[in-house]
Symmetry: C5
Subunit: 96 residues, 5 copies
């Protein structure tokens, strides 16, 4: 799992049917702010929304079986990442 900020959304009319109805969010993974710039961030991730998250939210993302569990439509779906929580507080160094 990792945390990041929702920076956008993607829409696909041509898609596998099991993607229908999912909000697909683009997540920019967090890095310790003091390491930026110079430190490189992890790549962008697309995750289906399980907790009514939106652009600007700081979120927790889970992969694979864990992500599908949060989506509650079984495991025969073409999805392997989900937003499973919206962060309302954190301790530790600043992240961005």
């Amino acid at each position: 799992m990792f945390t990041g900020q929702v920076i956008g959304e993607v829409w696909a009319t041509r898609r596998h049917p099991t993607l229908e109805g999912f909000k697909l969010l683009v997540i920019d993974p967090h890095e310790v702010e003091a390491r930026l710039p110079g430190g490189k961030k992890q790549g962008l991730v697309v995750a289906a929304d399980a907790v009514d998250a939106g652009v600007g939210d700081q979120v927790i993302v889970a992969y694979g079986r864990a992500g599908r569990t949060a989506l509650e439509r079984g495991h025969d779906i073409a999805v392997e990442a989900a937003v499973v929580g919206v962060i309302d507080a954190r301790s530790g160094p600043e992240v961005a």
Copy 2:
């Protein structure tokens, strides 16, 4: 899952039989454009096509069980990544 651009295709005559009939696309993962150059992109990924995608398309890629679900040939195939959607709109910062 991630999004990227289809930049090419690969063909292999000598391959595991369960790869037969799949279009194998080379995907260049998206990064926030404002971070390029200098920021490094994730590595190239090869994914089997599940939605009639082609070179130049902006697509969504899913891994593992999720990818195979989109391909609809069961899980006893030598494939662990699939193009599951073609993006027709996105919000958020420009990506490249």
Copy 3:
């Protein structure tokens, strides 16, 4: 699996119900100290705590089925990373 330092904690009121009761720790993966700075660290990871770890601890993190096994609530939870050990000794080069 990897080792790292616990640098913080995240709280999410809006979350998938199966996350309830888990302490969610933010882990900064270790790198060989002599390679820093200049060498880049791996990205931050969020893991559920299975061994009563806390901020400042040096820990071992396991992913997927292995992580869920340590959490002992079955595999139908929206979690795919867990802190499975607190390091009290290590040999080899210094890490940070």
Copy 4:
């Protein structure tokens, strides 16, 4: 899945018995040539050979269940990556 070049082979006399008989190839993942040098390549991968590949070949590598499917010895083997195809043609930008 990804594509890369076979740059060598490794031999291990002391190994788990289920590795016996597999040719273990070292794969250097492809990157878009125009991004090198400066862009960093992904790390080297070791994969068991499923298609009689050898040093110098451009190949397709699959992970996990997909890789083991290509090896056709079931899933109780200590292997999670396999060479599943030898590339004889590709379109798109030059890779190296």
Copy 5:
């Protein structure tokens, strides 16, 4: 799978019970020597030992189900990486 050098060991008294008895090795993944320095190495990995490996050995590491298969204690253990072979020969470019 990947190859690397064992650079140390970690000990954890406070750990999940299923980790008991495993030697936990710290692996520094190999990179092509001619690319170092400047090229960055992959992050350190912790793997349970399945082949009586030790510090200084060049080894093969497998993840997930493959790694647990080599450890021969079933899949209900909090481990997802194992040293599955000790390399006694390799061809190709020098690695470090």
